[in-house]
Symmetry: C2
Subunit: 197 residues, 2 copies
């Protein structure tokens, strides 16, 4: 169904199957309309078992985010070693409108918004953010070192790209398509005309 399906290929434990059910229910209903009951409907074993394991949807959301974070850590998402091509690959991924993953993309915007009020969500997003920024900084650092990129501060450029990605991801779910496409084109121009030496 979605590219995240492979996360759950080996969902054999009850915990993993609960997280899988939470993922599908979240993608279908969004965060604000999500209930433990709806998660239970996606859970093959038994609806009542969800209530047995979790007090409320937020505890399960935290588990899902934690699970995706661990998966993300063990993933190797880039198909190339060329720094410019790597950045373009990430930009394509962030800005792409994939019909299969639109439900989860939208839910992720809602979950991040919850981090504005919820300390536990915030902690999880900060850890994921740090990981993504670290990977971006490594790409930029490699590009600066091999002379592909001009001499920028990798950490600062990574932070700016990352904040742009938060905006791009949010825009593709909440803004009009023209805005998102123009922002993507300008970001690509930045990489090719400003960052590349």
């Amino acid at each position: 169904m979605s590219e995240t399906d492979h996360f759950f290929d080996d969902a054999t434990s009850t915990r993993e199957q609960l997280i899988q059910a939470a993922y599908y229910a979240l993608s279908e209903h969004g965060y604000s309309n999500l209930t433990l009951e709806k998660i239970g409907e996606e859970f093959e074993k038994s609806t009542s078992l969800v209530y047995h394991h979790y007090d409320g949807k937020d505890a399960l959301m935290v588990e899902l985010l934690e699970y995706l974070l661990q998966q993300f850590k063990s993933d190797v998402p880039l198909s190339t070693r060329d720094p410019t091509a790597q950045l373009h690959e990430v930009i394509d991924h962030v800005y792409s409108s994939d019909e299969e993953s639109v439900g989860f993309d939208r839910a992720l915007v809602e979950l991040r918004a919850q981090a504005a009020h919820n300390e536990e969500f915030r902690d999880l997003f900060e850890r994921t953010d740090a990981l993504v920024q670290h990977q971006l900084a490594q790409i930029i650092s490699a590009g600066v070192e091999d002379g592909t990129f001009v001499d920028v501060d990798p950490d600062q450029t990574a932070a700016a790209l990352f904040v742009n990605f938060i905006g791009g991801h949010t825009a593709k779910c909440t803004a009009d398509a023209e805005t998102t496409a123009a922002a993507k084109a300008e970001l690509e121009r930045f990489v090719d005309d400003v960052l590349v030496d």
Copy 2:
């Protein structure tokens, strides 16, 4: 209390006072925890009158967003005519962490996230987005015309800046302070070193 207070200086009608109450309740409790009852507590006239006027909180949120959009249209937010200084003023505004407005800033992140699922919210944000992008494009266009800026496409650059602002606003409410500060510094560098001729 906040810089938005002046929006409500002349809140004499019941409708405006309801919108004002919605603004304060939203800033205090956030969107997901907001109820008509909590809005009623901020409403001086009578709590039950809120239920008389509105079926649910979303109808009042739409009115609030509509009201802020109208205020925004009649506002003249920039204190300078210099295009570079204007962009820095907008960047400062988006990235600033103002203790007075942090509640509403966070709520706005939540409201935009609702636009991922709610057509009415989405329509309102698209109209606001278009207005902000139009103003940014005018600043950039003026800068290109008077030779301050290099020859960029004003609409495309405005879209990219705007999406960056969505990210910056979201980051200041949901990411760590270092990320937001580094992203702001890099954006300022972009304006001064790349955009300025």
